[in-house]
Amino acid sequence: MKLGWGIFGGGLASNVLLKSARISKSGKTLPNIIVLVCDAMTARNLSVYGYPRKTTPNLEKLGERAFIYHKHYANGNFTVPGASSLLTGLKPWTHRAINHGGIIKKEFAEHNIFRFIGDDYFKMAFSQNYWAVSLLNQFSPDIDSLLPMSEFGLINGAISQKFKDDSRLADQALVRMLYSGNSLLLSFINSLYYQSKVNTIPSEDYPTSLPRATFYDSVFTMKGLFDGIADKILELDEHESPFFSYFHIYPPHNPYTPDKDFMGMFDNDGYEPVVKREHVLSIGSSQSSLNNERNKYDAFLANVDLEIGHLLSILQEQGVLEHTYFIITADHGEMFERGTNGHFTGLLYEPVIRIPLMIFVPGNETRRDFLMPSSNIDLFSTILNLAGADIPASNEGNLLLGFGGVEDPDRSIITMEAKESSAFKPFTKATYSIVKGNYKLIYYHGYVHKYQDYFEFYDLQEDPEEIQDKYSKQKFKSIISDMKAELFSAMDEANKRIATT
């Protein structure tokens, strides 16, 4: 059976065909949709996006038949707001999952992609990141199969759904008790037991340590993880009905633990990253430490790239990609500059918020590059559109270009960070980034010294490394004024909304 994409509501080029699409319970012909979220994967360190190191040769090759979004942004700089926006189509100041360990405001818990995609789809979700699991638990009534964190791991950790009716609180309590040491004795016993157990697992491919997700007992191998995902997808594909699956994998998140073939592959390769002045809000890492961490991260990225390549080749061989949209993105980025490594920061520079978005479209054999800014809330409406589902008016994203979206040079992408603010009150301490075309305005509010209220402005076209702050330049006065007005207006609206609830 050959069907045009227009059938799926995407408004795509009519010469791209969808083979063997699935028939839903209600008799509709629908494609499968797979979302692979790679935690903490910054677009800035991927060679497919122009990074000088060859970190993603497989994605480069595969990208020749993908839709590639070059200015795609996360809506937050860590998992909770980033994944929440992707899954709800709402901005962080609307869904209010802004804190480390935070969750989506109760009134928006039903505003999730699993609910809106409808019952025509079999819905499966998996996350190796505990904080994303907390969000998925909120959506669990709308998910047909919510896989445990340890699904593709080597051992079953202590965190489980023992308290079915109170799993969110019980799990949070268990995390505090067992992993954060709030229970002095239980955490000690748990640590000794699981760390000893992990030590007994053969790990010849990982000379230093096995990759692990959020907790010390959530160990896995890269091959095991990706093979497990491939098997799960093939299993889902055996059914006649279409499926929507969300895989949120931990790599390349810290700790960076590539296997032995990738370990150290970029050490002493001569690459010198641009050295940037330490930021007042940084954690004070030295440049040599930043470079060292970057080397490890890049090696881990190369390992992830290989496994994604394997995964896609399996799906290609088995014919799954003929009727499946495969979306690769991230929840946030990672940075190794200005005295900060990682993403636990108040900073919103490009490396920590600009993320990859590559979409493999069934039947498509050519590469398409999109240069207009987009963000992860756009995935919500785009996926619903592909699934032929209604897009709720409350959705705050746009359709992506190539899937019915239209170019809008006036569109702004806002990312924010407010982990130290209350989710119930107007933000007291936050950083906002607003990107419009080639320009980017960063606003710091509530921090120390001048960062109590401070702006930075960059021309990303001329200065992609964000080194020359042009906030005080007369030339940009008008655009800065417009961007500030837009940001403050949106913030006021969000604050009013929170004040009235």
């Binding site: 209010r96 999952a97 802004i98 804190n99 480390h100 360990g101 935070g102 969750i103 308290f163 079915k164 009716d165 109170d166 609180l169 019980a170 949070q172 309590a173 268990l174 505090r176 008790m177 067992l178 992993y179 954060s180 040491g181 709030n182 229970s183 002095l184 004795l185 239980l186 955490s187 000690f188 016993i189 748990n190 640590s191 000794l192 760390q195 000893s196 030590n199 010390y216 130290e420 603010s421 209350s422 989710a423 119930f424």
Partner: protein
């Protein structure tokens, strides 16, 4: 009856248990308050915060039972003169040094590094225990201070055990579905 002689008297057991309860519950409450101020207060409502406290108090109660059960087992296994004859003094010292050394370990590192630091912890625990046990043997004053402290800790049982009971009720209600 011969078997029962291998266990300490009830009031001795309660004194030593009270020391464990005082340390375990106080630690759980203080560290959890820290989380409430820095994290939970930002995104959880008051009923959820109480719910989380309930789980943590329930956990502390389980810990206290584990601890006293281990000490009773020691008393049962070890020669009577080595442990059981001075159960309050030695049980209290063991409780303090064992839990105190874990606190020390957590002050130096995270739970993620427990196994990697187990030797350092073990040495610290052993030295502290030996020193305190020797002091308890040679100094009547130290022995009296330790035993008096264990006795005074009983007041914590009147606070923490009812709190545990309430916590279990809260957990039960939250899981009624």
């Amino acid at each position: 009856m011969a078997l029962l002689k291998r266990f300490p008297k009830r009031d001795q057991t309660i004194s030593v248990y009270a020391v464990g309860v005082a340390i375990l519950f106080s630690w759980a409450i203080i560290t959890t308050f820290n989380v409430v101020i820095n994290q939970w207060g930002l995104y959880l409502d008051i009923t959820e915060i109480f719910g989380l406290f309930a789980y943590i108090m329930a956990g502390a109660f389980v810990e206290s039972l584990l601890l006293i059960a281990s000490l009773l087992l020691f008393g049962f296994i070890l020669p009577q003169k080595l442990f059981l004859d001075k159960f309050v003094l030695r049980g209290t010292i063991l409780t303090i040094t064992f839990l105190g050394s874990i606190m020390y370990l957590y002050a130096q590192t995270t739970t993620f590094e427990v196994l990697a630091n187990i030797n350092t912890w073990g040495i610290f625990f052993a030295i502290c225990t030996v020193i305190l046990l020797l002091l308890g043997e040679v100094s009547q004053f130290v022995a009296r201070v330790v035993e008096t402290m264990a006795d005074r800790c009983i007041v914590f049982l009147y606070i923490y055990l009812p709190a545990s009971f309430i916590s279990y009720i809260i957990i039960f209600v939250r899981n009624l579905g």
